[in-house]
């Protein structure tokens, strides 16, 4: 075993030694770093204990806490073992709930070494093994001696080197080609379509509301002022109504202006270009942002067409990338086409997904009774609300029932649009009525498939097919097909399954 006092072996020697040695432990000092890490988490409660502590008991409790932490850290140290095998690292951990974890080297994308000043003094490092898609690292080794850490890094790199050397032969940057460019008129349209203004306004209200009571008083004061002015003018009800409408319209216009300004700030001069396998986008009026993405790293696609999009004859296209760290990073390349005509969007998809003949032709409808599922819930809620209101307020409360035809219309339109398609290696779902969405992915990018049946599904003979991809945003429409007839769902699942297991498809596009 390598200890810090040993003469430093070169990483490759250490890697070789590591591969032969059997089960290993972390660095003997690791309990100290675990304790420090834990202490950071408990710093606040401990501080509270310290400040609010009465008499001498807090000292005792502090001692007990510290002792417990050290004991816990020691336990972790003694139970955490790892072993290097031919093609995988095996980690055993846990005191009561014991875990054995197998991580094949081929699945480790990154070995991250982390050293604080304290780590450097002790000659150790924190090692994190990260694989694709995972939200948290696959293994966190706190801590290894620096030599061991570097050896591990070398070992993983070595396994990867062979695979990646051939994959990345690009000598110089290939010529880049512009795929989409947004002139200012398009960015203005984007502003009008998007609702960014509302988001900013909500955020502003939130911040102002946090600042204290002054904000509330200000709102109340201005409202009283307006009410007083209205009373002074002796307006009849019609003019009051008109006044309110004008105010409302003014608010909407203000919001749209704000949206346009924001869109200009964020998307001015948007250019999507392609150079080799890499897509990159540049945008921004004041701060220019440049983000890039390898096109084979695109996991799933979202196409959206809201009512406003339709009025302007536009659509938006976004993609998910495999890197989960980028999901919540707004600098990542997600908007392939913030706004573009349907033809442009179709062309873009055809270019980036050459195997698929987008737009897909064979769309299948859902279960014939799917509209009932969409209708029932809002209808039941409306009827209950109307019953409650009618009981309290009398007949006017029943006006709520007028919503029912609207829900019916919504459900029918929804069901007419909703569907799925599976052709040329692409699976696609579409949903929505006013706000139409398409979500699709290459079948070879799917990670897992789940067939779910809720009690209602079983009652109707339906099933839901969930398709999981990497890097999917939890806020967006999931890739799932609802309200499928059961036999169709099973058949589709069985058609998807063999393609999931298909061997690597060679790049279909010239790099």
């Amino acid at each position: 075993m390598t200890t810090p006092s040993d003469p430093k072996p070169t990483p490759s020697e250490a890697a070789a030694a590591m591969a032969v040695a059997g089960e290993r432990r972390l660095h003997p000092l690791s309990w100290l770093f675990v304790a420090i890490q834990q202490l950071k988490q408990f710093a606040l409660p401990l501080l509270v204990l310290l400040v609010t502590g009465r008499g001498n008991t807090w000292e005792l409790w502090g001692m007990v806490g510290a002792g417990g932490l050290v004991l816990y850290s020691l336990l972790l140290y003694f139970t955490y073992r790892f072993r290097i095998e031919d093609d995988a690292i095996v980690i055993r951990s846990g005191v009561l709930q014991r875990t054995v974890r197998n991580i094949p080297f081929s699945r480790i994308h990154n070995v991250a070494l982390h050293q604080t000043l304290l780590h450097r003094i002790a000659g150790v490092a924190e090692v994190r093994l990260e694989s694709a898609g995972g939200a948290k690292p696959e293994a966190e080794m706190r801590v290894l001696s620096l030599a061991d850490a570097q050896a591990l890094e070398e070992l993983v790199r070595g396994q990867h080197g062979e695979a990646e050397a051939g994959a990345d032969p690009q000598a110089g940057p290939p010529p880049s080609r512009v795929l989409l460019q947004l002139p200012t008129s398009e960015v203005l349209r984007l502003g009008l379509i998007s609702n960014r203004g509302m988001i900013v306004l909500a955020a502003m209200f939130g911040v102002l509301a946090q600042t204290g009571e002054g904000f509330g008083e200000m709102i109340e004061g201005s409202a009283r002022l307006v009410a007083g002015w209205v009373k002074q003018q002796h307006l009849d009800s019609a003019s009051t109504l008109i006044g309110a409408l004008v105010l409302f319209l003014a608010a909407i216009i203000l919001m749209r202006v704000l949206s346009v300004v924001l869109a200009l700030l964020q998307f001015h001069g948007f250019t999507l270009s392609e150079s080799g396998r890499r897509l990159s986008a540049e945008r921004g009026l004041l701060t220019r942002m440049r983000a890039s993405l390898r096109r084979d790293r695109i996991q799933a696609w979202s196409l959206r067409e809201t009512l406003l999009h339709r009025w302007f004859g536009r659509q938006s296209l976004r993609v998910d990338s495999a890197n989960l760290a980028q999901v919540h990073d707004d600098r990542a390349l997600r908007d392939l086409a913030p706004v573009a005509t349907p033809d442009t969007v179709d062309g873009l998809i055809r270019h980036l997904l050459p195997g698929a003949s987008w737009p897909l032709q064979q769309w299948h409808r859902l279960h014939p009774r799917a509209w009932r599922r969409q209708f029932t819930l809002p209808a039941v809620v409306t009827v209950l609300l109307a019953a409650g209101l009618g009981w309290k307020e009398g007949l006017p409360g029943l006006c709520l029932l007028l919503l029912l035809p609207l829900w019916l219309l919504r459900a029918r339109v929804w069901a007419r649009h909703a569907g799925y398609a599976f052709e040329s290696g692409v699976i696609a779902v579409r949903e929505g009525w006013l706000d139409k969405r398409w979500r699709f992915a290459e079948v070879r990018k799917l990670q897992a498939v789940k067939l779910s049946r809720s009690p209602l599904d079983r009652w109707h003979g339906m099933a839901t097919l969930w398709l999981d991809t990497a890097g999917a945003n939890a806020m967006e429409m999931p890739l799932r097909i609802r309200y499928l007839p059961l036999d169709e769902a099973i058949a589709l699942r069985d058609r998807l399954a063999p393609e999931l297991e298909a061997p690597v498809i060679p790049a279909r596009t010239p790099a």
Binding site: P104, G133, L324, S452, T469, A470, L500, E501
Partner: protein, 175 residues
């Protein structure tokens, strides 16, 4: 695919039959029942206290009601856990691992072999006592990034793990 060619041999060694649906062992139901009963104790005590306080009548009547509730809550939870485990079916074939489970909401999950990122085997104290293990299959997905199934026989879980471990040289085609 070399994996499908080799795995029947490996799995035969472990006594696994590919392509057939297997239930979980009887011990899994007992273990789940035990855990369910134990976790039911806390709400059981609380509910028993409430019921005993709420029922009017003599002290012995209250005691009886309290005891009844204390008995019924963990028992029903244990029963529920047993039924839940009995419903689980799993199957390993050339495509991957299928797991079928759920009482009211029924799920049939398929994790393809080529999508397995890494695997965990967990053994808690109760599971160790019954010779069971929990298998966790991790993928790179988001909503279903881990398929966790408790109640495998220890040997079964290890055999499944060894079969599902991704080949070293297989490239990450999905990412």
């Amino acid at each position: 695919m070399t994996e499908t060619a080799t795995s029947p041999v490996e799995s035969a060694a472990a006594g696994l039959q590919e392509g057939a649906w297997h239930p979980l062992p009887e011990a899994a139901a007992s273990a789940a029942g035990l855990v369910g009963g134990l976790t039911g104790l806390v709400p059981g005590i609380v509910l028993a206290g409430l019921a005993g306080g709420w029922v009017p009548g003599a002290w012995w009547l209250r005691l009886c009601v309290g005891l009844l509730v204390l008995l019924l809550v963990p028992m029903s939870l244990a029963l529920l856990a047993r039924v839940r485990v009995r419903r689980v079916r799993w199957c390993l074939d050339a495509r991957g691992l299928y797991v079928c489970r759920g009482l009211l909401w029924r799920h049939e999950i398929l994790v393809p072999r080529s999508r397995v990122q890494h695997l965990d085997i967990e053994r808690g104290p109760v599971e160790r006592h019954f010779g069971l293990a929990t298998l966790i299959v991790h993928t790179a997905g988001t909503r279903m990034h881990a398929l966790r199934q408790a109640g495998f026989n220890d040997a079964e879980a290890v055999a499944l793990r060894d079969i599902l471990v991704p080949e070293a040289r297989r490239h990450d085609d999905a990412l």
